[in-house]
Symmetry: C3
Subunit: 204 residues, 3 copies
Amino acid sequence: MLYLVVDILGTVAFAISGVLVAMEKKLDLFGVFIIAFVTAVGGGTLRDLLIGNTPVGWMQAPIYLFVILGTVIVAIFFVNQLKHFRKSLFLFDTIGIGLYTMVGIEKGISAELLPVMSIALGTITASFGGVIRDILCNEIPVIFRKEIYATVCILGGSFYFILIQFPVDDTLAYIAAILAIIIMRLVAVRFRISLPNIYKCRRL
Amino acid sequence: MLYLVVDILGTVAFAISGVLVAMEKKLDLFGVFIIAFVTAVGGGTLRDLLIGNTPVGWMQAPIYLFVILGTVIVAIFFVNQLKHFRKSLFLFDTIGIGLYTMVGIEKGISAELLPVMSIALGTITASFGGVIRDILCNEIPVIFRKEIYATVCILGGSFYFILIQFPVDDTLAYIAAILAIIIMRLVAVRFRISLPNIYKCRRL
Amino acid sequence: MLYLVVDILGTVAFAISGVLVAMEKKLDLFGVFIIAFVTAVGGGTLRDLLIGNTPVGWMQAPIYLFVILGTVIVAIFFVNQLKHFRKSLFLFDTIGIGLYTMVGIEKGISAELLPVMSIALGTITASFGGVIRDILCNEIPVIFRKEIYATVCILGGSFYFILIQFPVDDTLAYIAAILAIIIMRLVAVRFRISLPNIYKCRRL
């Protein structure tokens, strides 16, 4: 139940980030919906394709389609009010990243992938919706340019695989990893921590 | 037989639209061919990937490859004459959209998807070749910006699922839905009907 | 063993080409790594998806991930020295193209595709990593614009299918086709051979 609530909140936050990018590009109603949709389900879709899990997830669970449709309609009407919810949206987004990373990792484990590949799969799940969004909007993906985002997924996923080496309950490790991702992202954004700048620090 | 003729006409029209976009971008011969190819088969390929129908369709039916290759060669030689056939090409294109939407819907039904997901699959089949074309040519997809196109697929697909609730012959419903899509698109383009402009009508 | 060495050299050369494009776009460390990764494994991934060979190759062989990671780190540190190795890199790249074309063709034959489709699959394997690299970096793919590249894969693949009509040892035909691709590319680049310019030579 909690799982479903978190999943829906993450879907809403991802979809809204799609609406905002699409409206900045002046897309029409259909375009805004598609961008919101791929932002929300694109990462999971790519994950399912890579491991051969077809028909892909969203095709078998219509709830996502309807949640995203509802989100788009509300977001378009209240786009100017959205800025008042910036902090809540950022929080939902961050919670979504944590959850989707672990959902992807679980799918990787089910597909008998190595830990390092499961972590890659979790990172793809959490972050490639935004990559596809940016590509469709003709932008270089933002997570390739500045945000600490995928790095946090990789660290959180690694933390999970370290935890389960110990006699820790699996559900507990799962939740601890999600919390670790959320906290790392909040801290990184709060203190403007970013990846080392390879254009300054490299040897010339 | 009629089915094959319609399919080939649609493929030719889609491929030519690819040639025109690619030549505007001054791509070379190989680039023009690839863009024509993805425009014609990209939607069906994405559909097949999403439902796990592999090897994807065009790999098992070489006729598409050869039809597209022939179309590209003729289109490059006669590119300046193509404008005289603008109306015929638009008609073939529209017929193609109608057919491909229903082909996608049938595949969705075979994969036991819900009606709403089958409609999504049909719309993807008919419209995502153009999306991939535009992405490869570094443009924001045109169907996200102005054309009534996917909307017509969604309406036509919905019409099909309404029809088959009644004691209607399935083939008849299939053809009626294709005709509905064709007519709706012709009317929409003729009377410049478009989606409501979300940038004007939304509450501020 | 030789196979593995050639594969690794090709992976390194493809990854470095990704690093160079990504750094020109001023991507961050994560972005540079992802671009290097998709350049190196993107073609094979698309191939595996199209024929339903999942989980895709790189997920089952972590060596690629680690080779690419190592390549990225070294390449970032020594980016200014890379120009001294331009010729070696071009050679590795060309060897990679030859090998990957034939790897793709073999997978096509295993999937019982027609020769023409196997050649298409080989060409995709060798060349679509660069296509995805350019799309993610918001450029029209370079192989659609100027380089003789895919054409050489197509010719080499055709050569292989011609050879195996004769009583030639299969491994020999395989190696001969790889060498043919390498030689054709070296000759094409050396003598600046390119596809016919369709913008000049077409009838007006």
